[in-house]
């Protein structure tokens, strides 16, 4: 009996017989589809954490021959358990982006012109040290402002505080989560922190107000959200746009923009009026209930219907549904919350609803942080600045965070020279032209500077205005301050360590800061030689084996997330002045603000204009990732979502290119229209971060339109200085 050959086997044998063409093809396919390369090539895996956004998911870099082949999720990471989003998976394309900043550069042309000359690190650092010394003599150390972002900037923060300035502000506060932190701290005595302690996976009712989980992707938050839904949690989504989350909702409330406080007041009215709130919790933990009950008596769902354009019956039904699920109600506090200038009050209203449902510190609601005590170096005290902060934190904006500062306050001070001149900006890890609204004002401020320094990975538009550009190594090439996540259910410490050597002449941030400290005579603030030494000191009190930490990437500690778990060492449950949940805020009263949230109307779009609203796409991080080849392939431009009926009136067709003009005559780059039934008629939505102006970003340059460019107006929150940005209006032009 002869062997049976299938057609396939026949061809295999004939090709194996030695045709040259087949050998060539086999080699090529081995490169593209490395069959079993995990087995054949010695691949080293390095545990680190991601910086494609600030969530810092656990990553395992697979490295061979000094090159990162692939990023896998790290299954040992307590929060993300091996999962990574599209951006996280795209890390290698940032590392190997040909457009990266490659060496230090000194400006030779005019600001904005983009002409630079290459210099050495020694020249760059000497130049900077000289200029900082001169500036200190001439204007005082407070004349230098620092714009950092995130935990990676820790070493620069130390440097700048040691230099003597407290004019430090990051957009994470006044352009993002500031109102939320302040509003919740006013109510519960503490803010939320990051990662947000929202117990989505255990919840019976998830409530999202403007939060667009799904398009806004933080890996573990998505997992918890989806797992919660699949375990039967109900979902209420309040959003003028039919978001990904809205498409999963049991109730979608397409609210009239800017009227959320009216909805929240009506919910309180129903919860209290129908006796649906958590009475035991409120009587045990809260103060000010009588005032609150009297305050919301008039805010009926019928009253709210006239304001929010949501049916009163639906407002009532959703309030009752929330009450039925209490206390396992996860009313998500949001993250980017600077919308209308009344944002702290909206956060207060959300916090109060959370309290009425008894959800703070309860399973399925908002859980509590657990402090883990890390070690520190005995540093000399930072010099005490002689003049008050220039950004208004603590003065003009009484409840602004002095830790995170008010970016727009610093811009104002730089433009006006009041209360004193700010003559230098050092920018690290953010793009001030995209992260701060009112771009022309930011440029006006830059124009007043004697020195602007940008430390960045990519040639973002702000580098065009810098005097000195310092190329930083990417997160895959550097050590950073580890992430210490107190606000995770099980708190953890997670390391970032280099997977490969820095490419080109890029250098890690810690090295740059340390070198500067040496040149400025501030070595005493950096009493460690290597990153390992730094890490050893940090983790010493935790009793963690440092090699285990570096191998696994993260180590977890027991958390005490719910009220019943708390120990005396966790401190007071509600660290407010009264030690109770402050439904009524004596502090706001004392500062001259409404002690109970009140709805105040927002400006309406003029006839012919839409309200400009914006948000995120799952495949991009702010304005940072548009030049990433894999992410660009998935989304290379943003679009303008316009309601189908409104589009018909304007004779717009899907995919047509238009130009947007805002209320002040500022025009956008051309942008395509997405005609949809999934948005209210009165708003126009676009994803933030597109329309880059830097020609050195070869993929991102002039793709899509910038929402930031159209934000020529802001409404500043008087309580904490946040810039409300949803107060701009645009109309459609069919051509530029």
């Amino acid at each position: 009996m002869g062997p049976k050959f299938s057609r396939r086997e026949f061809f295999r044998r004939s090709s194996a017989a030695g045709a040259v063409g087949a050998t060539v093809a086999a080699t090529a396919s081995a490169e593209v589809h490395p069959p079993g390369w995990r087995g054949t090539t010695r691949v080293e895996t390095i545990a680190t954490n991601c910086e494609m956004c600030f969530w810092r998911c656990g990553v395992r870099a697979e490295v061979a021959h000094g090159k990162v082949l692939k990023l896998e999720g790290n299954p040992d990471h307590p929060l993300t358990k091996g999962r990574l989003c599209a951006r996280g998976n795209s890390g290698p394309k940032l590392l190997y982006d040909p457009d990266r900043l490659k060496y230090p550069m000194l400006r030779v042309g005019a600001r904005g012109e983009g002409k630079f000359k290459r210099i050495s690190w020694d020249q760059a650092l000497d130049f900077l040290a000289d200029r900082l010394t001169q500036l200190k003599q001439k204007y005082g150390p407070e004349g230098v402002a620092f714009f950092p972002h995130g935990v990676a900037s820790t070493f620069f923060l130390t440097l700048m505080r040691a230099y003597g300035t407290h004019n430090i502000a990051e957009p994470a506060f006044a352009q993002c989560r500031g109102p939320r932190e302040v509003g919740y701290a006013l109510t519960f005595g503490q803010g939320l922190g990051s990662p947000e302690p929202v117990d989505l996976a255990e919840s019976k009712m998830i409530v999202l107000i403007g939060t667009h989980i799904g398009e806004n992707v933080f890996t573990s938050q998505i997992t918890a959200f989806a797992d919660g839904l699949s375990r039967g949690a109900k979902l209420i989504v309040v959003d003028p746009r039919f978001s990904t989350a809205a498409a999963k909702a049991d109730w979608w409330l397409p609210i009239r923009p800017g009227t959320d406080i009216a909805l929240l007041l009506a919910w309180m009215h129903v919860l209290i009026g129908e006796d649906l709130y958590d009475k035991e919790y409120i009587s045990k933990y809260a103060q000010g209930f009588t005032e609150l009950a009297a305050h919301v008596k008039e805010f009926t769902p019928e009253w709210a219907e006239t304001i929010t354009e949501l049916p009163a019956a639906k407002i009532r039904a959703t309030a009752r549904a929330m009450a039925a699920a209490k206390p396992a109600v996860a009313l998500h506090p949001g993250r980017h919350t600077t919308w209308y200038g009344d944002d702290t009050q909206r956060a207060r209203a959300m916090a109060i609803v959370t309290a009425l449902l008894g959800s703070w510190g309860r399973k399925g609601g908002i859980f509590l942080p657990t402090e883990i005590k890390t070690g520190s170096f005995a540093l000399p005290a930072f010099p005490q600045p002689k003049r008050p902060r220039a950004d208004g934190a603590g003065t003009r904006f009484p409840l602004a965070s002095e830790e995170q500062g008010v970016t727009n306050g610093l811009v104002d001070a730089t433009v006006s020279g009041e209360p004193y001149p700010i003559k230098a900006w050092i920018v690290y890890g953010q793009n001030v032209l995209e992260s701060i609204p009112q771009r022309s004002r930011t440029l006006e401020a830059i124009d007043k500077l004697d020195l602007m320094v940008v430390v960045d990975v990519l040639p973002m538009e702000q580098t065009y205005y810098a005097d000195l550009v310092l190329p930083e190594a990417t997160y895959l090439e550097r050590y950073d301050m580890p992430q210490i996540a107190h606000s995770a259910k099980q708190p953890y410490i997670a390391v970032r360590q280099p997977s490969v050597e820095p490419l080109y002449e890029s250098k890690p941030g810690w090295w740059i800061a340390q070198q500067m400290a040496q040149r400025l005579g501030l070595e005493a603030y950096f009493p460690w030689k290597t990153p390992r030494e730094h890490l050893e000191t940090l983790v010493k009190p935790l009793g963690v084996n440092i090699d285990k930490l570096l191998t696994r990437g993260a180590v977890t500690f027991p958390g005490r997330p719910y009220i019943e778990d708390r120990l005396p060492e966790d401190g007071p449950l509600f660290p407010t002045q009264s030690g109770k949940i402050e439904l009524y805020s004596p502090l706001l009263k004392q500062l001259g603000f409404d002690p109970l949230p009140r709805y105040t109307p927002v400006d309406e779009p003029p006839v012919g204009y839409f309200r400009l609203i914006y948000g995120r796409a799952p495949v991009h991080s702010f304005a940072r990732s548009q030049n990433n080849a894999w992410l660009d392939a998935l989304m290379d431009e943003n679009t303008a979502w316009i309601n189908e009926d409104a589009a018909r009136d304007l004779r717009l067709t899907n995919g047509q290119k238009i130009v947007l003009e805002n209320q002040d005559g500022v025009r956008s780059l051309p942008i395509r229209v997405s005609v949809t039934q999934g948005i209210r008629r009165d708003c126009l939505y676009m994803v933030h971060g597109f329309g880059h102006e830097s020609q050195r970003l070869h993929l991102a340059y002039h793709r899509g339109a910038s929402d930031t460019e159209l934000m020529t107006r802001v409404k500043v929150d008087p309580i904490m200085g946040g810039t409300g940005m949803r107060v701009n209006f645009v109309r459609v032009l069919k051509s530029a």
């Binding site: 295999r12 599209a86 799904g214 498409a247 894999w630």
Partner: protein, 245 residues
Amino acid sequence: MARYAMVTDITKCVGCQACTVACNSEWDVPTGFARTHVHSTGVAGKFPDVISSFYVAQCNHCDHPACVAPCPTGATYQAENGIVMVDRDLCIGCGYCVEACPYDARYINPVTKKVDKCDFCWGRIQKGLEPACVATCTAHAKFFGDLEDPQSEVYKMVYEQGARRLETAEVAIGPNVYYLGKKEHVDLLLATFPPRHPRLLRAGEVWHRYLKPFILAAIGATFLGQAIAFFHQLYSGEDQFEDWE
């Protein structure tokens, strides 16, 4: 014998494309191509009564794959565990299978000039890993397993929770990728992304698309050669041959 299948729970999927990029990264898929990809259905209905969902597209490893028969070299074949495989040593990049697939799950890799598609990450499975898309899925919405194993998640989702195949009355070839979700959402997927009729190349098409251009090119080359020889002779004159005799 195992019968491998995948289930996407579209009540959970948020369309974040993590799977797409993880797959690109795992398999070095050239930019602009994909072995798996997520598509939005867009918004259906009238404001505010609207729905939408996500479709995660990939090879369905069908019970009766439309791509196997058209393959002239036998490069595409179905393994006993149900996985439709491509033997890249045998593939000549003719693209017949690309045309044949009702789910448009195949592409010709411009670097290798060979066909490429999802193989459920067979290389990872053999090492005890999950497929790259399943491992990375942020929404914990993708499940891979053996339909012959009643303990597997996919068995439960398919046989107990009613996960559905994207099949129509016209095109029903037994896809082994299933979608779990509300009826209206799966219906919307099917209405928006129905499997198309397999485009099997007929004799006439083979003639027009492959043979005719080849023959015309051959004839053209012949005439061109003749013409070159003619003008060469015209300008440089006829070679004078020495008479050896």
